[in-house]
């Protein structure tokens, strides 16, 4: 029999199981393995903290999403949103599953090309596309989603000069009944900006209007907003058909589907209240099918889902540095995971699970990161089992945005591994080291030496 663990003694007020600001007591099982690979082994081998991506979860997610849409609509195409996670290993997993690439900068565009994505299967979004970027995109027949009129003029100018017909769509923003309404990207539907842009494109010989794009928000909790948006997009497409006799090839509904993460301020856990991908699929496809498109003329439906496909496929493993009592009596735990690597802790109450067995006793705890900065708080309030120094924790649902928005600040960025379908662990990104950082730095000659 294994030696019983030591847990510190606690005194706890008896509560009648009401939900409180520390959240519900839901987490009672340790997470010792990820895809049958021991967490302890992973940390021993690759260090702490450590990002772990499950290839199986990634593939399950995209297949599940495809099934949700493809069984409801005849022509569906997913495009992997690079900004959500542009690790080559992740992108290529999605490309293997048939996803195109959706990029929002010249850098991401080049990364997609580097990954071997055909130019015509790259969707180029975003407000900042330089002339060089656009030139590349036009030459490669990429799908350019125009964000503002200045960009429209630039594309027109470049296409004329290059004598290539640019493949363009416009991004449309609209009122879908949600607050806040996103209107900073693209052209507004209600006030006629969208039609203004469409008219300009349709009257140009050097631009081919191939589609319509919208992206109504992020972490959307209401599928109905998508139904409203899809309906308006269909109206716009049919309007173009009636006015110009031009049939667009696709409607791109963007992304923004909520993952199962817990948004800060929500009373109930995300797994219970957040809509599933099926709910979104149902809303979007029903709206399109029931619009005025003829059954054989339904346009291709493109989805740029990012977060909902990757969030729960990645884990962040960490180690307890210390336990501390705060001045007001609250318990605090310091992990080796800081907000610099877990950027999304600003948005979510991440689920933190110990990686070793524990008793039923929990204590309300504040979880801090290792940074010497006041903002470095991973969870302001969480009901955690009693952890000791050196214990490991698993933070779940960290696949989206962390591995792109993280930064080197005080500590260096850790290693990322991927567990493949056979349970083999592959390093997909090395941990940073001083050498790597110094490579970028240049010290002027007169500052090279000093005496103390």
């Amino acid at each position: 029999m294994e030696k019983q663990r030591y847990e510190r003694p606690i005194i706890k007020k008896l509560e009648s199981n009401m939900p409180n600001k520390f959240g519900m007591r839901t987490e009672y099982r340790p997470m010792t393995h990820i895809d049958n690979v021991g967490v302890k082994d992973l940390i021993n081998e690759h260090g702490s903290p450590l990002f772990v991506i499950s290839e199986k979860s990634v593939r399950d997610n995209i297949r599940n999403a495809r099934k949700a849409f493809e069984t409801r609509y005849p022509k569906v195409q997913f495009a992997w949103s690079y900004k959500t996670n542009y690790l080559d290993a992740v992108c290529r997993t999605f490309h293997q599953e048939g996803s195109w690439a959706e990029v929002v900068s010249g850098f991401e565009y080049d990364k997609a090309i580097h990954n071997g994505v055909d130019g015509s299967k790259i969707i180029f979004n975003g407000p900042d596309k330089t002339e060089d970027d656009l030139e590349k995109a036009i030459k490669n027949n990429s799908l350019i989603h125009i964000d503002h009129l200045d960009e429209l003029y630039t594309v027109r100018k470049l296409a004329e000069r290059m004598d290539i017909k640019a493949q363009v769509a416009i991004r449309v923003n609209m009122d879908t009944g949600i607050y806040p309404m996103w209107d900073r990207f693209g052209f507004n539907y209600e006030n006629g900006q969208a039609w203004d842009a469409l008219n300009k494109i349709m009257r140009s010989d050097v631009m081919e209007l191939v589609g319509l794009h919208t992206h109504i928000g992020t972490f959307m909790l209401s599928p109905n907003a998508y139904a409203v948006a899809a309906g308006k997009m269909a109206d716009l497409a049919i309007g173009i058909r009636d006015k110009y006799g031009h049939e667009i090839q696709y409607i791109d509904m963007g992304g923004g589907f909520a993952s199962q993460n817990n948004l800060k301020g929500a009373y109930l856990p995300g797994t219970d209240i957040n809509p599933t991908i099926d709910d979104f699929a149902e809303a979007i496809t029903s709206a399109l099918i029931n619009s005025n498109f003829k059954p054989e003329k339904l346009p291709l439906l493109i989805l740029e889902t990012g977060r909902a496909l990757i969030d729960d496929a990645a884990y962040l493993l960490g180690t307890v540095i210390s336990n501390k009592r705060l001045s007001d009596g609250r318990r605090s735990t310091i992990l080796d995971i800081g907000v610099n690597v877990l950027f999304t802790s600003f948005w979510y109450d991440h689920k933190i699970t110990p990686a070793q067995p524990f008793t039923q006793h929990t204590e309300d705890t504040v979880v801090y990161g290792p940074l010497c900065m006041n903002i470095d708080v991973i969870r302001e309030n969480i009901s955690l089992p009693l952890l000791n120094k050196g214990d490991h924790v698993v933070i779940q649902n960290v696949g989206a945005y962390n591995m792109t928005q993280w930064m080197q600040f005080i500590t260096l960025r850790p290693r990322i591994v991927m567990i493949d379908l056979e349970g083999n662990v592959h390093v997909v990104r090395e941990r940073e080291n001083l050498q790597r950082l110094l490579e970028f730095e240049k010290v002027p000659e007169h500052l090279k030496t000093f005496e103390l």
């Binding site: 399950d60 599940n64 099934k67 849409f69 493809e70 069984t71 055909d118 130019g119 015509s120 027949n141």
Partner: protein
């Protein structure tokens, strides 16, 4: 038309008139026949004159140029000319009569064509019969015409032609140790051209083999059946041996066995069966005609062939078992190869293409004759559900309908039609319960054609979007999958039936163009009945392939090849004829390749031209292309044997094709890769394997590269050599 063209045209009119006697348009055979007619010089001259006369008159009258050129109006006059040429001594009077009789035969031809043509029947040699009988009876009282004695004293004739040597040669030839039956066979063959000696027969037989192996074989079968029938029944063998009638069996055999009917075991059996009927008709008609001192000539052949073809047209079933030739190609071989190939490729394709009634990939959980409920009257039905990679059909616990992947998924119309019946008010069952009272649950029946309805059942309550009487398009939303009726777990029941009521007796009708997935392997089904546990989905079109294999009449394609440092430009034009057949025609070589495009499939159907043109290779390489890209998907098909490259083996196969096929000509297409790069490219790899039985003796390999602009490059590898053809856009 310049003089050269005129002469060329006239040549065709004349030579085809000779070939038509044996249903042939083969010029070599026709020339042999032409020569044989001149074995009797005056008869030969009379025949040729008759052909020229009747064709000229037909032309002057403005009759169909195509028919004149085919010899359709010449061959009856030729026979009449030969007949009277043999009977009468030449002279001015004779030639005047010949002119008259040619014209009257032409009139008979057109008139009989008018009568029989309405019934889709050929007029064969009826005009000849009417012509020659008319002239024989009429000339009985014309004293200026002298009966020819040439046929009587043929040794004299021989002497006149070639002196003593010729006579000796003739004697030697006649005394050759040829079996009696074969001797009669050759003589009967020659009798078709009013000759009556073995040498002419042998020459004709050689020509016949050259024209068509099947026709030659049939002629033997027809003749020997008759021969043995005569022996068996104890009929007068002299009747067969010494009068101009034995050819009735030969011509009937060719006509029934391979010319008007596609050669097959059945057609050969019918030839054998019909032969005694000819003998009977021959004896009885000969008896009657003897009163008028007339020979029956080819009357029995005409009667039997025309009647038999007429009878066949009244069949109501099994039309493909003894198939009538619909497009006359003047070659029994072509009939056999093309028909068999057509039947293999398109014979079982349904008239209305049905799609699967859902989107995405579903799994067949109960197929035709399934173990649960698809039995007896309802055996031709399917149950579909959605399964994940672990083969589970639900998520979570599966305790409520919403857990099932297929629940609340759209159900779409399988084909265009009218909604006939709708039931929309049956409650969905909790998991495990069945509603035996409303067995079918919420259902929709759509009428697609007379006696062809489709039904979907167990839909979700109040989810049906269509109303009775509504016209519906293929792929339009009908409702959503549910769990109503006799349905313990959500699933979609789908069946075809011949009556409009919900729950009618089912009929077997195939689904068109669907994909069967087995792990990472995709199989395309042009038409088929999905089987249990198959994971199936409707085909998703690949626009690049679709565009690359979409050809419009008037379009031009140019390719460049390089041979021995010389660049050759190949230009193909896409043309359409009045029958809506579309084909490529190579501007340089005149080669033609016919194709058809239906739905998502491009097919080549026929090739006509030399077997070394680029168009021939294109035909071989793209024999069948489905406009969809599923990696490593493979398509197979069989070419018609007419394109078999080894002509020696094909010669042997020709004899045997009515009975069995030992040569194979297989086409395989592999969906190889989506090439990465600045422009998307698709590479299709195909191969043609020609061989005998299981052996492959000759292989062509092709690689076709497609871009969004169309076909860009075609590579051909054969016996170690590679030809590369680059498209010139």
């Amino acid at each position: 038309m310049n003089t050269k063209q005129r002469l060329h045209n006239a040549w065709h009119c004349i030579i085809n008139s000779y070939g038509q006697v044996f249903f042939s348009k083969n010029p070599v055979f026709a020339i042999i026949l032409f020569i044989v007619t001149f074995f009797d010089l005056y008869a030969g001259i009379a025949g040729l004159l008759a052909v020229i006369l009747s064709n000229s008159v037909a032309s002057l009258l403005g009759l169909s140029k195509i028919k004149i050129r085919e010899g359709a109006y010449g061959f009856n006059s030729l026979l009449v000319g030969l007949g009277v040429g043999i009977y009468y001594q030449p002279g001015v009077e004779f030639y005047i009569i010949l002119l008259m009789v040619s014209v009257i035969t032409l009139f008979f031809s057109v008139t009989i064509e008018g009568i029989l043509g309405k019934y889709g029947l050929p007029y064969l040699s009826i005009p000849f019969l009417l012509g020659i009988w008319t002239i024989i009876i009429a000339t009985k009282s014309y004293s200026a015409l002298n009966i020819s004695e040439r046929g009587v004293y043929n040794l004299n004739d021989m002497y006149a032609i070639g002196g003593l040597t010729m006579v000796k040669l003739y004697e030697w030839f006649n005394n050759l140790a040829v079996p009696e039956s074969l001797r009669i066979y050759f003589k009967s063959l020659s009798a078709i051209l009013f000759q009556y000696h073995m040498f002419a027969g042998i020459l004709i037989a050689v020509g016949l083999v050259y024209y068509s192996r099947i026709a030659f074989l049939l002629s033997l079968i027809g003749f020997y059946t008759a021969y043995y029938f005569y022996l068996f029944i104890g009929a007068n063998l002299n009747e067969l041996a010494y009068s101009y009638i034995g050819f009735n069996y030969i011509l009937t055999a060719i006509a029934i066995g391979g010319f008007f009917i596609v050669p097959s075991r059945r057609s050969v059996l019918w030839v054998i069966f019909l032969t005694p009927l000819i003998a009977i008709i021959l004896s009885s008609t000969a008896y009657i005609f003897s009163y008028f001192q007339l020979s029956v000539f080819s009357l029995p052949f005409n009667i039997i062939v025309i009647m038999f073809l007429y009878v066949l047209k009244f069949r109501e079933k099994d039309l493909s078992k003894l198939a009538l030739v619909t497009i006359q190609q003047f070659s029994p071989e072509k009939h056999a190869y093309n028909f068999n190939n057509y039947m293999d490729r398109f014979g079982n394709l349904p008239w209305i293409a049905m799609k699967l009634p859902f989107w995405g990939e579903w799994k067949v959980t109960q197929a035709h004759g399934g173990q649960y409920t698809h039995k007896d009257n309802w055996k031709h039905a399917w149950d579909f559900e959605i399964a994940d990679d672990e083969d589970k059909v639900y998520a979570d616990t599966g305790n409520k309908p919403e857990d099932y992947y297929c629940y609340n998924k759209p159900v779409i119309a399988t084909a265009d039609g009218t909604v006939e019946a709708v039931k929309n008010d049956v409650e969905d069952n909790p998991i495990g319960d069945v509603d035996m009272k409303n067995n079918w649950g919420n259902s929709v029946v759509i009428k697609h054609a007379e006696k062809l309805y489709s039904q979907v059942s167990h839909l979700k309550k109040d989810s049906i979007k269509v109303e009775k009487g509504q016209i519906i398009k293929q792929g339009e939303l009908i409702g959503y999958c549910g769990n109503s009726g006799r349905s313990p777990v959500p699933h979609l029941h789908f069946q075809f039936q011949s009556t409009p009521d919900i729950g009618s007796k089912t009929i077997s009708y195939p689904i068109s163009s669907y994909i069967v997935r087995d792990n990472e392997n995709f199989k395309f089904q042009l038409s088929g009945i999905p089987e249990k546990d198959q994971r199936i989905s409707n085909l998703t079109t690949n626009e690049i392939i679709k565009k690359a294999f979409h050809f419009v009449p008037g379009e031009k394609m140019r390719f460049e090849t390089e041979t021995d440092g010389k660049t050759v430009l190949h230009e193909w034009l896409i043309e359409a004829d009045i029958y809506n057949n579309i084909y490529f025609v190579c501007q340089r070589t005149g080669a033609k390749a016919w194709f058809r495009q239906s739905g998502n499939v491009f097919y080549f159907t026929q090739y006509n031209g030399k077997p070394n043109t680029l168009l021939y290779f294109f035909y071989l390489s793209s024999f069948k292309v489905v406009s969809a890209f599923y990696k490593n998907m493979q398509l197979k098909d069989d070419y018609p044997l007419t394109v078999f490259p080894n002509k020696k083996w094909l010669f042997l196969q020709d004899f045997l094709i009515p009975f069995f096929k030992f040569l194979k000509a297989e086409f395989t297409l592999n969906y190889k890769s989506l090439e990465k790069g600045k422009v998307e490219r698709i590479v299709l790899e195909s191969s043609s394997a020609f061989g005998r039985r299981k052996r492959v003796n000759d292989t062509f390999r092709f690689s076709i590269r497609l871009t969004p602009k169309g076909i860009e490059k075609l590579e051909i590898s054969h016996s170690g050599k590679t030809i590369t053809a680059n498209r010139k856009f």
